[in-house]
């Protein structure tokens, strides 16, 4: 293990938890403390069971498998993965794990790992909140456009119908009645459209 490299990594990731895993002497690393401090059970010797117990979501498993395959098959020297964890009280935590690996070329295996854990729970909550607000806004505009376009469509059809009627040869006295009826309907749809526009403006101001 190159101490200088480890120190640089620690400095680069100031305020973060830095841990080291020596495969010849597993356990007792800082990761354990980091997780147990947050009520998450962790034991390096029982890692898979702990992941299952802590109900890791499938996306995280995918991310982890991708990371492991990169490390083990492509012999990547570093990895970064975001992991969602839940403790026994069902509280949710997010961590960003950055790891550097040291390969033992002779034995073709990882000899050591050094990494840092960022507690990104607050950041992740903010990100989720922003995403949820963006989705809400998107849904609001989709609904608003639907609510507005429906009466506008009806209005267009009524005008089209009135124009078609106007082209038909009919007695003069019935024509004026039909036109009056068509105009009343168009006027009503216009009022509905106005109400919808005002409602949309009101809602967007409260948003």
């Amino acid at each position: 293990m190159d101490y200088q490299e480890k120190l640089i990594l620690a400095l680069e990731t100031a305020k973060m938890t830095v841990w080291e895993w020596d495969f010849d002497n597993p356990g007792g690393n800082v990761l354990t403390d980091f997780l147990t401090d947050r009520g998450i059970l962790w034991s390096p010797e029982k890692t898979p069971e702990i992941w299952f117990q802590e109900n890791l979501c499938p996306e995280d498993w995918t991310a982890l498998f991708k990371m492991w395959s990169q490390v083990l098959l492509q012999k990547s020297l570093s990895s970064e993965v975001q992991i969602r964890l839940k403790n026994s009280r069902r509280e949710e935590f997010w961590i960003l794990a950055r790891t550097r690996y040291y390969w033992d070329e002779k034995q073709t295996k990882i000899s050591n790992m050094v990494g840092c854990i960022f507690d990104i729970t607050d950041l992740k909550k903010q990100e989720l909140q922003i995403n949820s607000q963006a989705k809400e806004r998107e849904s609001f505009y989709a609904n608003a456009s639907h609510e507005l376009l429906t009466p506008l469509t009806a209005l267009k059809f009524k005008i089209e119908r009135a124009l078609l009627e106007a082209q038909k040869p009919v007695p003069e006295n019935t024509r004026s009645d039909q036109f009056l009826e068509a105009l009343i309907e168009i006027d009503k749809t216009g009022d509905l459209l106005k109400t919808q526009v005002n409602e949309m403006i009101r809602r967007s101001q409260n948003h």
């Binding site: 429906t150 469509t153 059809f157 078609l164």
Partner: protein
């Protein structure tokens, strides 16, 4: 010769009635369905099948996209290839863009006669 028939599928009664009225005044026969499920029932039972289907996307019970997925599963093979024109108030979102690769899309509002131009074009292309 029987009139050309158009199936109008939209959950809004007023839009459906207006479209059907205009089509009828232009010499077409119009049938109406308030959602995809009703449309399928009509298609599976009507003896005189429509020339085209005008399909809204956002509908309760069975929306337009689900209708398009269910139609090829119908035992009545003749209904599988009836041309569909999508009529939507949605912008060019992911669903509309995807469906637009297979079906003509008309955005609301539009003139009812625009559909007849498309239907005539589809008939000529056959």
């Amino acid at each position: 010769m029987s009139k050309k028939k158009i199936l109008v599928v939209d959950d809004n009664d007023e839009i459906r009635d207006l479209m059907a009225g205009i089509f009828e005044s232009l010499g077409y026969e119009a049938v109406q369905a308030s959602n995809g499920k009703v449309a399928l029932e009509i298609l599976e039972t009507e003896s005189h099948l429509p020339t085209a289907i005008i399909l809204d996307l956002m509908m309760p019970v069975m929306n337009g996209e689900s209708f398009l997925e269910a139609r090829p599963l119908s035992p009545r093979i003749e209904i599988h290839d009836i041309p569909v024109i999508i009529f939507t108030a949605q912008g060019n979102n992911e669903t509309v863009t995807r469906l637009g690769k297979d079906y003509p899309v008309v955005h609301k509002p539009a003139r009812a006669q625009d559909f007849l131009t498309i239907i005539d074009g589809l008939a000529e292309a056959k």
